[in-house]
């Protein structure tokens, strides 16, 4: 009987240690990339966060400009709702990054420009395009 109790204690002990560990890690992130606040562009512009944040939105059509001197760097505008945010990003651009792409970026907002160091695109399993939008097909109109 005692041995059984000891086991319960030991197992509860192990579980408690790990739960404490998880709680500790959740409140003391190992680095600034571990836990990042996700904001809307509106919140960012209103409150002027200076911490590292994560944003989501669409790439504004026609806004992507590669740096003339270094194609690793690009500027574009992130659009979310009615808000536009100028972004600068240096690094590998995912293949699906283009006008209208749904993206997630992470970085710091300074002097009116969001400097991103992480840029991810949503990996769609198909080409985005609305089936109701005739332009997305190679179509031959059928005269009725």
């Amino acid at each position: 009987m005692e041995s059984k109790n000891k086991f319960y204690f030991a197992i509860t002990g192990v579980a408690l240690v790990v739960i404490f560990w998880i709680w500790y890690a959740s409140t003391n992130p190992v680095n600034e990339q571990a836990l990042v606040t996700f904001l809307s562009v509106e919140e960012l512009l209103d409150d002027g966060y200076s911490d590292r944040v994560r944003l989501g939105g669409l790439v504004e059509d026609g806004s992507i400009q590669l740096d003339k001197n270094n194609y690793m760097t690009c500027q574009f505008e992130l659009k979310e709702g009615d808000y536009l945010l100028p972004v600068q990003y240096t690094g590998i651009r995912p293949d699906l990054f283009k006008d209208g792409a749904e993206i997630i970026i992470e970085g710091v907002f300074t002097n009116g420009v969001f400097e991103a160091d992480i840029l991810q695109t949503k990996c769609a399993s198909k080409y985005e395009g609305d089936l109701r939008d005739a332009n997305s097909y190679n179509l031959e109109e059928v005269s009725i």
Partner: protein
């Protein structure tokens, strides 16, 4: 016409699945065998209709019938035939139908294989399987039907095509493998519910459940490893695991499933932990459904998930339904599941298994917590906190290392109780080897997790080697066999044990590969033809930039000469920047794709990505990564799979019976 037939098959299957459940419920109430046989036949018909519907969709994809919305969405005329078929699981409704398809294969096998031997349990087994089928039938019939016609007032001449990222052989088999694992847990779950409902849990039940578990666990493992391999080879960020919600969704049932693979041994050998194993089976199956939910609901902003969210509440409802029904049943059967025996000592192998289980389950909880943290934080504090890979690594590295330690300690413990003498005898050599390794690594300036991980790896490998050596030596003595024969027969005599050890070797090698991540280095740079860059004693020189038009894309190809520190040429890397659909008049439809080139050595990979090209100035931009030891992840993976196959392979002795 044909799409209508597909839809009709799904309608019929839906109706028949309800009939099956009703018939079998009446059989259970009345004991009338005719009701059982009708029910069984109805269940088989549900599966056959599901096959049929899947084949119809596959056929529609093959012939590019763009009258069907799904076909038009995920394929085009130019899509290679093989990828027309893989488009079956490229989209939401197709992948749910595919879930149903695999479940139906399993259902037919489970029914035909066990209809005689498990007569008592079968009504319940079939009810559970059919209920799960019914759930997916509801989804493909009423929520997201793959046979919906294209909504356009013009004739669709060509479809949208499949993402080139998905046009890859590994990607073609990765989802089916994961599905084979995910879906497969339905069968052991069904047998467990049946066993509890009927209070019948004999040796045959044990064997059936164990073999199913091993098989589906293997499929899940292969699926996860392939997913990592694909990410590494194709996605071009140099990593194989990102702690993405969808990856976590497959990892969580794997963790509880692995716990189960261990604790089921105790049940088999000692008839203990029955209650606990039931909990693990229920949780693992629930996590599989939950995983499908995470992938398909769009609740997490993951790179994988589809955005439609009407599925969310239905899936969540089903998850709660499973949990409530299973745990209620479990509660009523707690006396039936009580073990007569108790674990006798802390230093027994049983207790080693038990601690292993606890650690696996808390690790699963840690992953669960991290995955849902954004949702939880938003609900509790109003701000959404996203969780990055560093968080998961921070939490899971120490837990993983504890597991690695237990991998070594477990086999050294004796059943029931390990005496002091045998403890000293068993631990002496492995611990010494581990300490020696630690000392050497310390001298070579390694610290922290790297030091611990390599030390534990050497410790565990030594324990496994000793286990093999002991077994072989005793056979050589008692049977007068030579080393190889002794090794071969040893494995054959006790496949689950030695297969398990081989799985452990694979895991240790994978840990070695994971640890190599700590030494990764990378650099991004632009080069003109003739220019050079350096990284870690390697020199990269851009020899040539060429262009080529190929059948379905346009490629820029870089010839990147790689030299080592002695100035010796190692190889020429050819990373490419491709543009798919380059002829499309709409620039937005053109799809860039970076084709990596990786130079692989046993101790490191040199990984090159062609990021961008400035055609005016003739500058090509690259990212180069040097990833030490990464190959050991894949080598470990192969060994892991091999070990599981050994444990799974039917033994002669059993097949005679």
């Amino acid at each position: 016409m044909i799409p209508v037939i597909g839809g009709l098959a799904l309608n019929l299957a839906f109706g028949l699945s309800i009939v099956t459940i009703i018939l079998l419920s009446f059989h259970l109430r009345t004991g009338d065998n005719r009701l059982y046989f009708s029910g069984q036949r109805a269940a088989l018909a549900v599966s056959l209709l599901s096959f049929f519907a899947t084949f119809v969709l596959a056929q529609l994809l093959m012939v590019s019938n763009f009258d069907v919305d799904y076909v038009a969405h995920y394929t085009s005329r130019e899509t290679p035939t093989i990828y027309k078929i893989t488009a079956l699981w490229a989209g939401q409704s197709g992948s749910l139908l595919f879930w149903l398809f695999i479940l139906s294969i399993y259902a037919v096998i489970a029914i035909l294989q066990n209809q005689r031997s498990q007569q008592k349990l079968m009504p319940w087994v079939i009810i559970v399987i059919t209920t799960v089928q019914l759930f997916f039938l509801i989804l493909v019939n009423f929520v997201t039907n793959p046979f919906i016609p294209t909504e356009a007032d013009f004739v669709v001449v060509n479809g949208l095509g499949l993402n080139p990222l998905l046009q890859n052989a590994t990607m073609a088999i990765h989802p089916p493998m994961l599905y084979l694992g995910f879906v497969g847990f339905t069968i052991p779950f069904a047998f467990s519910i049946a066993a509890m409902a009927k209070k019948e849990m004999n040796a045959l039940w044990m064997k059936t459940v164990r073999v199913w578990l091993l098989f589906v666990w293997l499929m899940l493992s292969i699926g996860i490893i392939l997913g990592g391999w694909w990410a590494y080879q194709e996605l071009g960020w140099g990593g194989y695991w990102a702690w993405d919600p969808v990856e976590n969704a497959s990892f969580m049932p794997w963790l509880t499933g692995t716990a189960l693979m261990h604790s089921i041994i105790i049940q088999e050998k000692k008839n203990m932990l029955k209650f606990w194993n039931m909990i693990l089976i229920i949780i693992t199956f629930t996590l599989c459904i939950f995983g499908t939910f995470l992938t398909r609901s769009g609740i997490m902003s993951s790179v994988h998930s589809f955005t439609a969210s009407s599925l969310g509440p239905i899936f969540l409802g089903f998850v709660f339904f499973i949990l409530i029904v299973s745990f209620t049943l479990l509660f009523y059967r707690k006396t039936f599941l009580r073990s007569e025996k108790r674990i006798e000592s802390f230093t027994s192998r049983e207790s080693g298994f038990l601690f292993n289980n606890v650690v696996f389950v808390v690790m699963c909880f840690a992953v669960f917590w991290g995955t849902l943290f954004p949702v939880i934080s938003e609900a509790v504090r109003g701000t959404k906190i996203t969780v990055g890979a560093p968080f998961f690594n921070q939490i899971n590295i120490p837990i993983g290392l504890v597991l690695l330690l237990l991998t070594g300690v477990g086999p050294l413990l004796v059943w029931r109780r390990t005496s002091r003498q045998s403890a000293v005898r068993n631990f002496m050599i492995p611990v010494s080897v581990g300490l020696m390794t630690a000392l050497i690594l310390f001298i070579f300036n390694m610290r922290g997790y790297v030091l611990i991980s390599f030390t534990l790896s050497s410790f565990v490998l030594t324990t496994i080697l000793i286990e093999f050596a002991k077994g072989i030596r005793s056979r050589m003595r008692s049977q007068h066999e030579n080393v190889l024969v002794a090794f071969w027969r040893l494995m054959r005599k006790n496949r689950s044990r030695y297969g398990g050890y081989i799985v452990h070797v694979g895991i240790v090698l994978m840990f070695v590969g994971f640890t190599g991540h700590a030494f990764n280095s990378e650099k991004e740079f632009g080069l003109k033809v003739g220019e050079k860059e350096h990284l870690d004693n390697y020199q990269f020189e851009l020899l040539r930039l060429s262009e080529e038009e190929r059948p379905n894309h346009y490629a820029y190809i870089a010839d990147l000469k790689l030299k080592d520190s002695d100035g010796k040429t190692i190889t020429i890397l050819h990373p490419e920047k491709r543009i798919y659909f380059h002829r499309s008049p709409d620039p937005n439809r053109r799809q860039p794709h970076s084709e990596l080139d990786i130079y692989t050595l046993l101790n490191k990979d040199i990984y090159s990505i062609f990021n961008a090209i400035d055609t005016e100035k003739g500058v090509a931009y690259f990212k180069i990564m040097i990833n030490p030891l990464v190959n050991w992840v894949w080598i470990g993976g192969y060994i892991f799979i091999f070990g599981t196959l050994i444990a799974l392979f039917p033994s002669k002795k059993e097949s005679v019976v």
